[in-house]
């Protein structure tokens, strides 16, 4: 009798806890998505509708706002294309060369191996901002201002991506496989390109997404380097929008500009979310 009573109270406990968990989770989901919902609604409304106050339903002005933005003074399309170029190139270079660096440390034995590995780990958490001053001077000495090179090429040396690749390699790339390729007469460089890279595809995919997104979102460095209107990336345009005299602006355009820079990432994320969330967890267990 007593034990039975215990059982039911325990069952109740779990049910109640589950209920609380769902309520909190739904609240947090609301907190995460609410802003983007308003963004979506307001991107479809005209400036005059918005001055009258907020309504929770979309209106019909989406394409008018879109047209206004496209015909406005902000170079939105070139911003989008610049962002795409910089982020894609960064993602490709970063993943390819990080894999190469990881392979060098993983597959070979050489004198400085331990030193270099320790060094890369040690500099992993040093933020780019603290070297920004020297970086900007270097870029202007090299006459590379208003050029994508200083935004793309540095991604070759990415300690965090390197570390992830190294961890992944330890679990998926047996040295005997490389040995077998050597016996079959494959050169070292060819082995890397035709055996290592395909085996590393899952890790490369995850890291390519992360590099792409962080480069897409980067504001600090591009703002210091790109001054020419035609070269600017989206985050700089957003900052320009913020510093423009706000009241003169058509709010419909402001919202659609924000949506324009946010929604592509959301769309890609929704398609790939499973990889991404797993990728974060994977990196953490090992890191």
């Amino acid at each position: 009798m007593i034990s039975e009573k215990n059982e039911t109270s325990k069952g109740f406990g779990i049910k109640a806890r589950r209920g609380i968990a769902y309520v909190v989770l739904i609240f947090i989901t609301f907190l995460c998505l609410f802003w983007f919902y308003i963004l979506f609604v307001n991107a479809t409304r005209s400036h005059s509708e918005m001055t009258k106050g907020f309504t929770p339903f979309p209106s019909t002005n989406f394409f008018v706002n879109w047209k206004n933005l496209m015909e406005g003074t902000l170079p939105v399309w070139s911003g989008l294309i610049n962002s795409l170029i910089v982020s894609s190139l960064s993602a490709v270079l970063c993943t390819y060369f990080s894999t190469m660096t990881a392979y060098a440390i993983h597959a070979y034995d050489f004198k400085l191996k331990k030193f270099i590995f320790t060094f890369i780990l040690a500099v992993m958490t040093i933020p780019t901002q603290v070297t920004a001053l020297g970086f900007v001077q270097l870029v202007s000495n090299m006459k590379l201002e208003d050029n994508f090179i200083p935004l793309v090429v540095p991604s070759i040396a990415a300690p965090v991506t390197f570390f992830y690749m190294k961890q992944y390699m330890e679990s998926t790339l047996p040295l005997s496989l490389i040995e077998a390729a050597r016996i079959d007469g494959s050169g070292e460089f060819r082995t890397f390109n035709s055996i290592v890279i395909p085996l590393m595809k899952p890790a490369i995919a995850v890291q390519a997404i992360f590099t792409f997104v962080s480069s897409w979102n980067n504001y600090f460095t591009p703002a210091l380097i790109l001054h020419n209107e035609k070269m600017k990336t989206l985050p700089i345009l957003i900052a320009q929008l913020r510093s423009a005299d706000f009241l003169k602006f058509d709010m419909g355009q402001v919202y659609i500009m924000i949506a324009f820079s946010i929604f592509p990432v959301i769309l890609v994320y929704l398609c790939l979310s499973k990889f991404i969330v797993q990728g974060v967890a994977l990196g953490s267990v090992k890191g």
Partner: protein
Amino acid sequence: MKKAKRGKVVSYNKWGYIFLIPFITVYVVFQLIPLVSTIVNSFFENYRSGLTQIGPTFIGLANYKEIFANPDIWIYAQNTLIMWVMGFVPQILVSLLLGAWFSDPSLRLKGQGFFKTVIYLPNLIMASAFSMLFFTLFSDGGPINSILIQMGILDEPFKFLSHVWSTRTLVALMNFLMWFGNTTILLMAGMMGIDTSLFEAAQVDGATPTKIFYKITLPLLKPILIYVMITSLVGGLQMFDVPQILTNGNGEPMRSSMTLIMYLNKHLYSKNYGMGGALSVILFVITGVLSLVVFKFSNNKEK
């Protein structure tokens, strides 16, 4: 025959160096040289006053003295710390709670994939666009004020960006939203790694879920918690995009949301390389010390 083979092994290993060439070249050119020249700059007087260029002349530690003598850096350091704490405390609490729920097999929560997807989403949003969004949402005539008035909570618009604490709260809220999903996933992975037999033993002994959480989960999570805290602190020191865009770079009201990197950014824009260099070196030392703690810690964990 044997000798030839050994010779080959040695020649293979030189490929280790060859494959490291791109990383090392790029690292030296784009990070090491800038770091050194930043440090060198910090010992020189080098700025523009109007149209005249002053310096560069070597002045030793005078830039550092000037920075520390000026109350600004302390105010900005304090602002950065306050906004970091305001974002980090709720972040770690919510993440612990969600992590515990997600990893608790007896709860059997449905739709975990959905919730994880949603909470991680803000992390990928462009910080500057998110900040711009908040600026428009919380502006005097913006939707939030409009909603609050419609609901009868406010009589007239509240000027969120004209008050010290509401501005700081907005910055903290954005940082919280952007990072709690990431932290949740990290902590959850840590919780999943705990030996389940410990939980079972505790349950057999009649421990309540709360007790299990405090006496087993939390102590075993300590290494990950410290890792999360220090990496978040290093990230917090770099706080820039969100307050920069929200306040248009001036840290208003009354410079109460001006962060250290915003201060550095100002020096970079005005091309005051001496002061900028000194400030960079100070930030470098702080993050270096913090990184060393993380490094020591993750090394111990492996042992």
